[in-house]
């Protein structure tokens, strides 16, 4: 089926393509070298192909994933580089151990900027998955571990971290709360029992059974 051509601009280069193509496909078709800013190629889970886009006739610049975004006439695209970001929120997995009543203190000490949130909504509008990032930051800053749930579908693209004027690193804050609450407080009974059985030698494998023969 013949489709009409559209003209898009990627990193300042004009590319003619078809409206059925994603931004990444359009670049490939045009012979551009694509060895960075690319990953899962459409599933939208790796967060590699972060772009800023502006549609024709609109003034707003939006963040998006290039693999999920289709070409349309006049679309302007700029890739966002993955700079080696300075990680100022460094913690160890035993950050909460010892006194888990002081979790809120630890959250504030490890992510102090979360207290300074301006409620600008930049993180929410930057998120390509439309997660409630700001809500998650608020919950975490108040010591509410249900903050973790706000980041269930987070792909760690770091767009909210880039957008935040207070350098809160919302996605990393969310992951910190997720990881630590899981590490200290997730103990399924069936797994606990099975580990116990294996460690005591009560469950072993007989490699010589015949029933596995084809």
């Amino acid at each position: 089926m013949q489709t009409s051509q559209v003209r898009i601009t990627v990193n300042g280069c004009v590319i003619d393509t078809e409206p059925t193509r994603s931004i990444l496909e359009a670049m490939i078709d045009a012979g551009e070298t694509l060895i960075d800013g690319v990953g899962c190629m459409g599933q939208g889970v790796c967060g590699s192909c972060r772009v800023l886009v502006r549609r024709q006739g609109e003034s707003e610049v939006l963040s998006a994933l290039a693999c999920e975004t289709r070409a349309c006439e006049g679309l302007q695209v700029a890739f966002l580089d993955h700079l080696p970001m300075h990680r100022h929120h460094v913690y160890a997995m035993d950050d909460w151990n010892g006194d888990s009543w002081r979790i809120l203190e630890r959250i504030n000490a490890t992510f102090p900027e979360a207290q300074h949130c301006r409620h600008c909504g930049g993180c929410d509008s930057a998120c390509p998955k439309h997660l409630e990032v700001h809500k998650g930051v608020m919950l975490a800053a108040a010591g509410d571990l249900s903050a973790a749930d706000c980041f269930d579908e987070c792909i760690m693209c770091d767009l909210c971290t880039i957008a935040c004027p207070e350098l809160i690193s919302p996605n990393h804050l969310g992951l910190y709360v997720r990881r630590l609450s899981t590490a200290i407080g997730f103990r399924p009974a069936d797994l606990v029992l099975r580990l116990h059985q294996i460690e005591r030698g009560e469950m072993v494998i007989d490699q010589d059974v015949a029933s596995t023969q084809p």
């Binding site: 089926m1 496909e25 269930d152 992951l175 399924p188 069936d190």
Partner: protein, 550 residues
């Protein structure tokens, strides 16, 4: 390939009576005629290397028998870095190896071609097998896995997988990975378990239907925050380093940001470079990550490692056939097991949807090849009829097929009203480099782990064993490597193995101007020769980052 116009096919679909398909008289003939593993001329015999005489897909054989991209002269002046353990690959296996090696006190470098986390791990949806259920046992996990692999897996490896699996889950939880619960709360609850195809018990643990994403973001963060691990993004592996005895003693990386080679002298090298999907064997689309170009497999073979089951690949029946930007993307088997039908452009069912994967794949390919497929915007496939399933079993979509719903919306389809277009997609490399329980290969100093390695899945991989494999064997390789590594680099480090390799190529009449590994898919428009010519010149034309932005 052409097919029946999409609109016409939709009309016929609405008029279809969904009558049961005719049974397939001769499965062997169907497979032989249409399955890529069986297709005439799709396999060739390897002429050089440890597996000389073994059959292997033609496109992969060309890579395995390729010549090195570099000469000794290319390495002159390259910086040399020493470490005890060098890990190549930033997916789940590489990260598990790196974390474990660092915890064991080894000096570790983790180098990856794209960015850490860019891998098939992050794309895995289904889950991870571990026998934790009261009705289940590690013995059952062992037997199910062996049986599914048609009995030809390495029993020691499968026993290791099954018995280590519960501890791998504990290890993941300790690093902050969550799993869904079936009942109860975080303390004392029971894990949600799903049954993989071919299993006797429900054994798949998961986090919603993006288990791999949950795993990868935890492992990535753990590696990035671990000051003991030096992380090098955008540094693909170009060649392994050897000593005069042919042992692996390091690797040559190419730093894409600095446009320069780096020599890493390492006592232990762990390859965790994943699969081959982006080589598009037999011209198939793939569900694999952009980086899956068999780099580690090619280089392990070149330095002398033996391979196994190299003619066995998984072609998943239901990859996305339209739209193009999701081509090859995976639609889980859950849709068919819930009862969704496959129909051709005539509105006819043509295969038992729950037949073995290879049979379903071959039947879909037959419909497409014989003109009964459906064509939309130049893409050809068959219908996966979710709307009819939803009419028959209301609520299925919302309850059982959540990720399918998400995928459909990406494709601009309302899955309750419009069928998906599907065709088989290259999904997994069942075989790979021969390893032992610690991931060591037949080449001293060289380890392999993850999809790149072979022997765990036999000739068919069960759902949920890939994520388990990367954690169990990634950890074991990392631990063994760190404990056995020497603090001092090998005295003589070079490309010694290439002399013998090139002699073999010449003796076998193989071309010397076919270079490998690929590093990127052919459509990445990446020319390594051109890249080398740019070295030392000014940084320019480096898409997408540098173009027009400066």
């Amino acid at each position: 390939m052409t097919g029946i116009d999409h609109r016409l096919a939709l009309e016929r679909l609405l008029a279809s009576d969904h009558a049961a398909p005719n049974p397939i008289d001769d499965v062997e003939a169907l497979l032989k005629a249409h399955h890529p593993d069986y297709r005439e001329g799709s396999l060739v015999s390897l002429a050089v290397g440890a597996n000389r005489g073994s059959e292997c897909p033609t496109a992969l054989a060309a890579r395995l028998q390729s010549n090195a991209r570099i000469e000794d002269a290319d390495l002159a002046g390259a910086p040399v870095v020493d470490t005890e353990v060098l890990i190549i690959g930033g997916g789940g296996a590489g990260c598990a190896a790196a974390l474990t090696a660092a915890e064991a006190g080894g000096r570790v470098i983790l180098a990856t071609k794209l960015r850490i986390g860019d891998s098939n791990t992050v794309m895995a949806e289904g889950g991870i097998q571990a026998a934790v259920g009261e009705d289940d046992s590690i013995q059952r996990h062992f037997e199910d896995t062996l049986r599914a692999g048609h009995g030809c897996a390495d029993r020691r490896l499968v026993a290791c997988l099954a018995s280590s699996a519960p501890d791998s889950i504990r290890w993941l939880i300790d690093r902050g990975m969550r799993f869904d619960l079936a009942e109860g709360g975080a303390i004392g609850g029971k894990l949600l378990r799903k049954k993989p195809g071919g299993a006797t018990r429900a054994r798949i643990l998961s986090f919603k239907d993006y288990t791999g994403l949950e795993m990868m973001r935890v492992l990535r963060e753990a590696v990035e925050l671990d000051e003991r691990i030096r992380l090098w993004n955008r540094c693909p592996l170009v060649e392994l380093l050897s000593d005069e005895a042919g042992h692996c003693v390091g690797a040559v990386l190419y730093d894409l940001a600095l446009h320069s080679f780096v020599l890493v002298r390492a006592s232990r090298v762990i390859l965790a470079t994943g699969g081959v999907g982006r080589l598009h064997l037999n011209d198939f689309p793939t569900s694999n990550h952009y980086g899956a170009t068999a780099d580690g497999l090619v280089l392990a073979y070149r330095i002398g490692a033996a391979l196994r089951e190299l003619d066995s690949f998984q072609y998943h029946p239901t990859g996305v056939a339209w739209p193009s930007f999701r081509l090859g993307g995976l639609i889980s088997e859950a849709a068919r097991s819930a009862g969704a039908h496959l129909l051709n452009g005539l509105g006819e069912r043509f295969v038992d949807e729950l037949a073995a994967r290879d049979v379903v794949s071959a039947a879909i390919l037959r419909e497409c090849a014989e003109g009964r497929g459906i064509e939309r915007e130049g893409m050809v496939g068959v219908f996966l009829d979710i709307p009819e399933l939803e009419r028959r079993q209301p609520g299925t979509l919302a309850q059982r097929l959540v990720s399918l719903g998400h995928l459909a919306r990406q494709c601009g389809i309302d899955p309750s009203r419009e069928p998906m277009m599907v065709r088989p997609t290259l999904h997994y490399q069942n075989g790979g480099v021969v390893i032992d329980e610690n991931g060591t290969t037949s080449v001293p100093g060289l380890y392999c782990t993850g999809e790149l390695s072979g022997g765990i899945h036999g000739r068919n991989r069960m759902m949920g064993n890939a994520l388990q494999e990367i954690i169990t064997f990634g950890r074991r390789a990392g631990l063994h490597a760190a404990r056995s590594a020497s603090r001092h680099p090998a005295p003589k480090v070079g490309l010694f193995h290439l002399h013998g390799w090139r002699r073999q190529l010449v003796a076998a009449g193989m071309p010397l101007d076919r270079f490998g590994p690929d590093l990127f898919p052919s459509y990445a428009n990446f020319d390594f020769g051109h890249e080398l010519a740019l070295r030392g010149g000014k940084r320019t034309m480096y898409a997408p980052r540098a173009r027009g932005v400066e």
